[in-house]
Structure formats: structure tokens, C-alpha cells
């Protein structure tokens, strides 16, 4: 079984106010989020028979995961000390959703269609696109011929999906 791993930009906040707390000890202790992600991936891979993780970062989470991949292979104490092969050892595939990579073709379709207003339409396209991208990426990873051009495959696919979306929204102009 492949492990799913969602990286989220959205979060709900817990606001805890401690007027009497010691600033040095409580207020400035941060989350060690990168270490938690590393440990969780390692744990999930080892408890699922060594099957690697599928990562699904979204929006700013895409950039955050790029940072994580650099961090985890960098030597301690600045990095995670996972060694130069950590990512290939634990990660099967990465399925970026709406990542800010200097703009995306889908933005045009989004501007014209106002698809976020209609959750039913957005929901249908979102899920279909997810399934198609996941299926294609996992298939391609098995294929030595395309194994090293994953990014190219992804953008070809993104273009195809954008065209399908445009065609669905505006059959008259595409």
C-alpha cells in the first residue's frame, strides 16, 4: 500500500494566551515541524511494509516541501541529517496541487471561469484532475524511460487538463 501524505497550507488556529508565562521557556519554543515530517514519513514507511510515501503538497506547501527535501538531506545541525539518499529512500511520488512555480497555465482558466464560485464544478474537476495526475505519476515512475522527466510529464499533463477544463467551460472559444 502506498502511503498518502498531505501537506497543508490552510490551518485553523488555536489562540492560547498565557499572560504569566515565561517568555524564554514557553513563548519561543517552536514546533520542530520539519523533524516531525521526517519522523512521520519514516514511521509510516516502516509500518507499511517499506512502501514509500506519496506526498501531496498544496499551494505554499509545495514550496515548503521543496524546503523540506533540501533540509532533510543537509547535515545536522542545520539540516535533518538524513543523508544524500533520504528522499529517494522514502518518497515514491510528489503530486503538487496549485503550487506557485512562477505562474501556471491553469490560472487563465481559473480567471475566466470563476470556478471557485461553483463548488460542484470545481469539485468535479479537482477530483478528476487529482486522480488522473496521481495515476499518471505513479505509472510513469515505474517506467525507466520517463523516470527522469517527471516534471516534464507533469506540465504536459497540466496543459492537457487546462485545455480540457477550458473546453468544458467555454466550448465556443477553445
Amino acid at each position: 500500500m502506498i502511503i498518502d501524505f498531505a501537506l497543508s497550507f490552510y490551518f485553523r488556529t488555536l489562540l492560547n494566551v498565557f499572560p504569566f508565562a515565561n517568555n524564554n521557556l514557553i513563548d519561543q519554543v517552536r514546533d520542530q515541524t520539519l523533524s516531525r515530517i521526517k519522523s512521520n514519513i519514516e514511521l509510516m514507511v516502516s509500518t507499511n511494509g517499506g512502501n514509500k510515501a506519496v506526498i501531496i503538497p498544496h499551494s505554499m506547501g509545495v514550496l515548503y516541501f521543496l524546503h523540506f527535501m533540501k533540509w532533510v538531506e543537509a547535515p545536522a545541525p542545520m539540516g535533518g541529517g538524513g543523508g544524500p539518499d533520504w528522499c529517494s529512500k522514502y518518497i515514491k511520488a510528489i503530486v503538487n496541487i496549485g503550487g506557485p512555480f512562477l505562474g501556471v497555465p491553469k490560472a487563465i482558466a481559473g480567471l475566466f471561469s470563476a470556478e471557485a464560485r461553483d463548488i460542484a464544478v470545481a469539485r468535479y474537476i479537482f477530483f478528476m484532475a487529482m486522480l488522473v495526475i496521481m495515476a499518471m505519476l505513479v505509472t510513469r515512475l515505474h517506467d525507466d524511460l520517463y523516470g527522469c522527466s517527471l516534471v516534464h510529464q507533469y506540465f504536459t499533463l497540466a496543459r492537457m487538463i487546462m485545455l480540457v477544463t477550458m473546453n468544458y467551460m467555454f466550448p465556443s472559444i477553445v
Binding site: 502511503i3 498531505a6 514546533d31 520542530q32 523533524s35 514519513i41 501531496i56
Partner: protein, 71 residues
């Protein structure tokens, strides 16, 4: 939500932290799903809490500052 102007971390006396678990981002607000539909569909094909993990992080601070334990 705002951070300390000097340190870029928590202002004195206030802590805001991301929620963990799949509930951290299933819905943005009532009726506005983010990951809920994907989670539900992955559950239909056999995924569960043991095999899905939501990595929520604090998007207000710099990426490396999500790691430091004592600033």
C-alpha cells in the same frame, strides 16, 4: 495572528499554533472543503488514519523557523 517585529516569532505572552491531524485542513469553513473530499475518496479505496498524515505547518513564519526549538 501577528508576529513579533523584532524576532519574527511569537509576541510576548501569545502562542498561535497549527492544529494537527486530518481535521487541520479538511474544511476551511463550514461547507468550504479543502481536503475533505480527497480524504473521503482515499478512505473509500482503503486509506485510513494510519496511512494518511496531514502535515500542518505555521505559514506565518519563515520555513526554517518552523524547525527551531529555542529561538
Amino acid at each position: 495572528m501577528s508576529l513579533d517585529n523584532e524576532t519574527g516569532m511569537d509576541p510576548p505572552g501569545i502562542r498561535v499554533r497549527p492544529v494537527s491531524g486530518l481535521v487541520a485542513a479538511d474544511y476551511f469553513a463550514a461547507g468550504y472543503f479543502v481536503w475533505a473530499v480527497l480524504i473521503a475518496n482515499l478512505a473509500r479505496i482503503g486509506y485510513e488514519e494510519k496511512t494518511m498524515y496531514m502535515a500542518a505547518y505555521d505559514w506565518r513564519i519563515s520555513f526554517q523557523n518552523t524547525e527551531v526549538s529555542l529561538f
